[in-house]
């Protein structure tokens, strides 16, 4: 598939997955991919203290949009702020500040489960409707909360019979259930538990929340060495001798151990990718493992390159 076509499949992409699989990294890589294809992107973070701005060397996110790149903007979206927004646009400006400040939102939100999620998704919906960007990427809450987050609107329709909140929930359901407007991109690692969990999440999202699923992103994949090698110190010492490069026994051991580690990880990873393919009939995009615990722009660009390749193969 062409990258430009892929980036306009739906106007909202919700990136979801278990904690620690690299949702925010994938969000950033997708944003750069779309920006390169000429799209304007708005990233919406729904949980505090996101690692996103640090990746772009930008200051912490607030409720106001900031520029991360000429075509990528980002903002933070809290239920409290979304509620104030909602009340202001519904002619209840006077009450709005106090409702949020008095902590009463906690009480009301507890009385109406899913209320906070609806407020956030409702705001996403109005961002989408005003065409604030060609592509809106939502960095969803971690793990099981992602399912609750997406199910909130349907749950609320059952609980609240009347009133504007019900209307809001209906609007959110129509956004979520229209594949041209919204899809979920799941992120996982090629490891046993993350694969099991992403399969469960995928079925829950499709069956219960009725949201379309995009390709699954398999993050952190080790790339095999460009030439076949033998992870064996004496073979390495032989290669050293024939190339005239001095290799000490210790160095040969380190080279061999590192190569064996890569080989082992790679074999296990392929097993899990195969397992994921069998359990979940969705196309996959593999992103490479980044040999750096701190992801910044150069790593994001590498990941975006891989993302483009992955999309072209779809």
């Amino acid at each position: 598939m062409e990258v430009a076509e892929f980036c306009s499949t739906s106007r909202v992409v919700i990136v979801a997955g278990k904690g620690g699989v690299g949702k925010t990294t994938v969000t950033a890589a997708l944003a750069i991919t779309a920006a390169r294809a000429g799209r304007s992107v708005l990233i919406v973070e729904v949980e505090g203290k996101s690692g996103l701005p640090a990746m772009f060397d930008a200051p912490a996110l607030g409720y106001e949009e900031i520029d991360l790149d000429p075509r990528i903007r980002a903002r933070f979206l809290t239920p409290d702020a979304a509620l104030v927004d909602y009340l202001v646009t519904h002619g209840m400006k006077r009450i709005s500040k106090r409702l949020a400040a008095s902590g009463a939102l906690d009480v009301v939100a507890t009385a109406v489960p899913g209320m906070k999620d609806i407020l956030v998704l409702g705001k996403v919906k109005s961002i989408e409707e005003t065409r604030a960007a060609d592509l809106v990427i939502v960095d969803a809450p971690a793990a099981g909360h992602a399912i609750t987050f997406l199910l909130s609107a349907r749950g609320l329709l059952d609980a609240v019979r009347v009133g504007p909140i019900r209307k809001q929930a209906q609007d959110v359901v129509s956004l979520l259930s229209d594949p041209a407007r919204c899809q979920v991109m799941l992120v996982t690692l090629a490891e046993e538990t993350p694969v099991s969990e992403v399969v469960d999440t995928a079925f829950a999202i499709e069956d219960r929340a009725g949201v379309a699923l995009g390709p699954v992103v398999v993050n952190g994949c080790f790339t095999p060495l460009p030439v076949p090698v033998s992870a064996n110190a004496s073979a390495i010492l032989d290669d050293g001798r024939s190339t005239g490069r001095f290799v000490s026994q210790r160095e040969a051991d380190d080279l061999a151990r590192a190569a064996a580690f890569l080989e082992e990880r790679h074999a296990l990873q392929n097993e899990q990718i195969q397992r994921l393919r069998e359990l979940l009939p969705l196309p996959q995009i593999e992103l490479p493992f980044v040999f750096n615990p701190d992801i910044t722009r150069p790593q994001l660009d590498t990941l975006a390159d891989a993302f483009e390749l992955g999309v072209e193969k779809l």
Binding site: D106, V227, A259, F261, E264, P293
Partner: protein
């Protein structure tokens, strides 16, 4: 004096494992309890949401609000073999291991029943829709109930080591704030007015409050408001008991026999979060006693990445008389080692910086990246050995 990680499982009564989601908290908690039992203690691990296979291994596939003892045979024999008594890693006689998976709602129900002045009051609360939402969905309830359960096990159980896993939150700090969030909800000024007898309420409730309630009703419907009012009325008289209880549970957290273990991964964001957590614990008069870093890449020697890259480059541009295949293989091997040396170096820098920041006394231990999942006693024992035998003390 640096705390040794052994001290935690040998001497402490309560070990609380904190950390952000996806760093291996549940596994670490299970490993610590197992190690305590192996050393002869009567240990219990309280898990929140274990991965299915780990839960199966611990025999807690379903919510069990009471600890279940694990058959000694299952955890004391590794790979089906009893350990050799002469071995350092042998299982000490007398140790016991129990596990439970927290059931937030029944823990809360029990708390309500115990604090209510009559069974009728308890029933009114338990039947209330708003209460059911509080006990099921309020952020922080799970954290608070984990602490409540901990306190109950501490007071009433016979365990001499309780290891608590904390809920998977994006922010490790949420755990510390949980009791406050609940009492803040119960203390809410506007809704406290609602708890007054009807007439007094009408008198005290200002026009502003009434407008406010009407607005809320307009947004979410009046049924919802009625539920809330009914809840706060039913709850009347119990806030004090709840507040006292929160205080007592809070005291347990600052007791010297309680240790906080911060579980993290060597990624920058997890490390930053860990730093904030250390600062917050210090404010609360506690300290992080051990820092356990999971998924650390192996070091593979001590050469610098730059030197290795230079070797790879030299081989790639070797003169024509150097055999091509051999040079290509060797340069690939050098590049690969350079990659792993790079990440290993950066990860170790992060770990040391975090330890310096948190305080010199904190034990630092790390578990290398494992080639497989940890979901049975054989692999839990393996992690225990890595954790307790490779302690780095600078």
């Amino acid at each position: 004096v640096t705390i040794r990680i052994d001290e935690l499982v040998d001497d402490r009564r309560v070990v609380i494992c904190c950390g952000t989601g996806g760093v291996g908290k549940t596994t670490t908690a299970a490993v610590l309890a197992l190690e305590g039992a192996r050393r002869g203690r009567n240990a219990c691990v309280v898990t929140i949401d274990p991965a299915r296979r780990l839960a199966d291994a611990l025999g807690i596939a379903h919510l069990t609000n009471d600890p279940t003892e694990i058959d000694r045979k299952l955890w004391a024999e590794i790979d089906g073999r009893a350990t050799d008594p002469g071995d350092d890693e042998a299982v000490v006689a007398g140790g016991r291991l129990s596990a439970m998976m927290l059931d937030t709602k029944s823990t809360f129900d029990l708390l309500v029943s115990r604090n209510a002045s009559s069974p009728e009051q308890a029933q009114r609360i338990l039947d209330n829709t708003f209460y059911r939402n509080v006990s099921g969905a309020l952020g922080g309830t799970q954290e608070y109930m984990a602490m409540e359960k901990l306190h109950e096990l501490h007071d009433e159980g016979n365990f001499d080591l309780i290891v608590v896993d904390t809920p998977p939150t994006r922010h490790a700090l949420d755990f510390l704030d949980a009791p406050k969030r609940l009492t803040r909800l119960l203390d809410n000024r506007v809704f406290r007015l609602l708890m007054m007898p009807t007439r007094a309420y009408l008198r005290v409730a200002s026009v502003a409050v009434q407008t406010f309630l009407r607005t809320v009703a307009r947004v979410v419907g009046s049924e919802v408001i009625e539920d809330v009012v009914a809840f706060f009325r039913a709850f009347e008289g119990m806030e004090e008991g709840f507040r006292t209880r929160a205080q007592v549970v809070g005291d347990l957290l600052t007791d010297p026999s309680t240790a906080f273990v911060l579980v993290t991964s060597p990624r920058r964001d997890a490390m930053q979060e860990a730093t904030f957590f250390g600062d917050r614990l210090a404010e609360a008069g506690q300290s992080v006693q051990a820092l356990i870093v999971n998924r650390v890449h192996p070091a593979f020697g001590d050469e610098t990445p730059a030197g290795l890259r230079a070797a790879a480059d030299a081989l790639r541009s070797a003169p024509a008389d150097v055999p091509k295949d051999e040079a290509a293989r060797l340069s690939a091997l050098y590049d690969n080692l350079a990659d792993f040396r790079e990440i290993a170096t950066l990860e170790r820098e992060h770990m040391e910086a975090l330890r310096d920041r948190i305080g010199g006394e904190t034990a630092l231990a790390y578990v290398p990246y494992l080639a497989h999942d940890v979901h049975d006693f054989t692999t839990l024992h393996e992690v225990a050995r890595l954790l307790f035998d490779t302690v780095s003390t600078q």
